[in-house]
Amino acid sequence: MKIAVLVKQVPDHEALVLARGDGTLEIEDRWATNFFDEIAIEQALRLEAVQGGEVIALSAGAGRNTDALRRALAMGADGAILVSDPALAAADGLGTARALAACLRELGPDLVLCGRVALDDEMGLVGPAVAEILGWPHVAAVTALEVDGKAFRAVRLVEGGRESIEGQLPVLIAAAKGLAEPRVPKVMQVMKASRAAMRTRTLADLGVDPGSVAPLVRTRVFERPPARPPVRMMEGEPGDRVRELASILVSAAGGRR
């Protein structure tokens, strides 16, 4: 079975991110492979261990995304492809999905895994959009996955519960927390991955018109989130504090927004 995994490098969740006065974003130089993408990589490797085949990591864009591909290689992926093109620098999720889908058509996987959302732009668009462009079904926010031959069974987290979903490959699965606990690669594997060859495909290689990845949405400026006023601490005897807490809760719970 050939499994493709879509990956992205994002700021570490503890990195300082600050909107500057000019509307640009200052991001501390601490990066990590997207939390949910690592889960997707792990799930792909586990399926490969049982079913055989190969795991290929894909990323679109430039620069830091090669680090996400190297993370996938260090974890055990068999190959990595970077779709790299100047036109992708300004692309939105839909443009990125078009580039990735073209690369996936060339690759011909049976299964595509990705994270349910990237924790930088928090759009959650690329997975469903790739499936749509490929004409494949997809299941998002998956917490369990079994593949048996061409059949799959996935568990999806929805409001108020879990759905079990069945279907046939090919399918795109977007990983949520709980699907698999990502392994931490050993130093030797990280070093080996840092030297590994990586295939690069341009939009021209893939027959994608650069105009088709032009963004339809654009962030005009970044703003700071509304600041919360300083905390008011409840003081006094324990009994007084509890009475104050009760009164805060009742008053905040009582009024309609």
Partner: protein, 316 residues
């Protein structure tokens, strides 16, 4: 801009909060509002939506009873082409986000996920605001392409509208593509309590509760206040609580009117999931707990002492 199409999500006995808020927002923008509801028998949801829309399209089909991306996208695509809305809004629930993302690719239309604000520019184009980087910044998003412009709205970001004159309900019996991913079972989590993303009040517990049994105190308080129960990553990872209750980066993003946390330290990944909450109240025995920096009201105390006293005070 003239017409908004709002994709409405059913809940048991009505429609989900975020859908209602999306309908209210569309109307407050002065748009003629068309609600789309779907299900094997969507009549109850259609009636609930009709008080908040000028027109309700109620699509009935057995394959629309459970969420399947392709069936729902096929319906939404057809209706979007018929209605020609300038704006398509959906709820930023797990299914709403899934549907509108795929619809955006189907239509080749620009999409902004989980918006918290939307205004119409003088040129008639919308500008939306949405939290990025776990709420550390807000992106002001412009739509570049032609309409329709697509967005999902964060639950709790817009007020619940008051009912207005009932819009006309029209039944649809759409032809749908063959379902390729079939829901074979549904397992309910959390019982009768409302889900964290839907709730106006969330009572969360963390490691500071000391042991899973102490969550009964959280549940009693939640039931007293009509709230949902939330959980920190630590207690979900420890197996104390179900993952469906987790608030934070790797769990649910919530924006309730009132968020109360007992024994949750307030790690970055937790705060990322509730930065949009209204009033935040934090109880923690550690005066240096980072969560106090993100709270409106703080109480330094042991949750296991405070909770029983609080329940008694509230007569619960």
């Amino acid at each position: 801009m003239t017409t908004a199409l709002v994709i409405v999500e059913r809940s048991s006995g009505g429609i989900r909060r975020a859908s209602l808020e999306a309908l209210g927002k569309a109307r407050s923008l002065g748009l003629s509002t068309v609600a789309l509801v779907a299900g094997s028998d969507p009549s109850a949801a259609a009636r609930a939506a009709s008080a908040h829309a000028d027109r309700v399209l109620a699509a009935a089909h057995p394959d629309l009873e459970r969420y399947d991306a392709e069936a729902h996208v096929a319906l939404a695509e057809r209706v979007t082409r018929d209605v020609s809305p300038s704006l398509v809004l959906g709820p930023a629930t797990s299914t709403g986000r899934d549907l509108v993302a795929r619809l955006s690719a189907r239509l080749g239309a620009g999409y902004a996920a989980e918006i918290t604000d939307i205004t119409i520019d003088p040129d008639g184009r919308p500008t939306a605001r949405r939290a990025v980087h776990g709420g550390k910044a807000v992106a002001v998003v412009a739509f570049e392409g032609p309409p329709p412009w697509l967005a999902t709205v964060r639950p709790g970001a817009f007020p619940t509208p008051s009912p207005g004159a009932a819009g006309k309900i029209e039944m649809l019996h759409p032809a749908l593509p063959e379902i390729r991913t079939r829901v074979v079972s549904f397992e309910e989590a959390g019982g009768k309590r409302v889900h964290v993303t839907e709730a106006e009040i969330v009572i969360s517990g963390g490691r500071g509760l000391g042991d899973p049994a102490a969550f009964t105190l959280i549940e009693r308080l939640a039931d007293r206040l009509g709230a949902a129960v939330g959980a920190s990553r630590a207690v979900v990872d420890a197996g104390w609580r179900d993952a469906s209750e987790q608030v934070g980066k790797s769990g649910n993003t919530v924006a309730p009117r009132l968020y109360v946390a007992f024994g949750v330290s307030g790690a970055v990944h937790h705060v990322m999931g509730m930065a949009g909450a209204g009033t935040v109240v934090v109880v923690n025995r550690d005066p240096a707990a980072p969560f106090f920096k993100h709270a409106d009201h703080g109480l330094v105390g042991d949750a296991l002492v405070v909770l029983p006293a609080l329940l008694e005070e509230l007569g619960a």
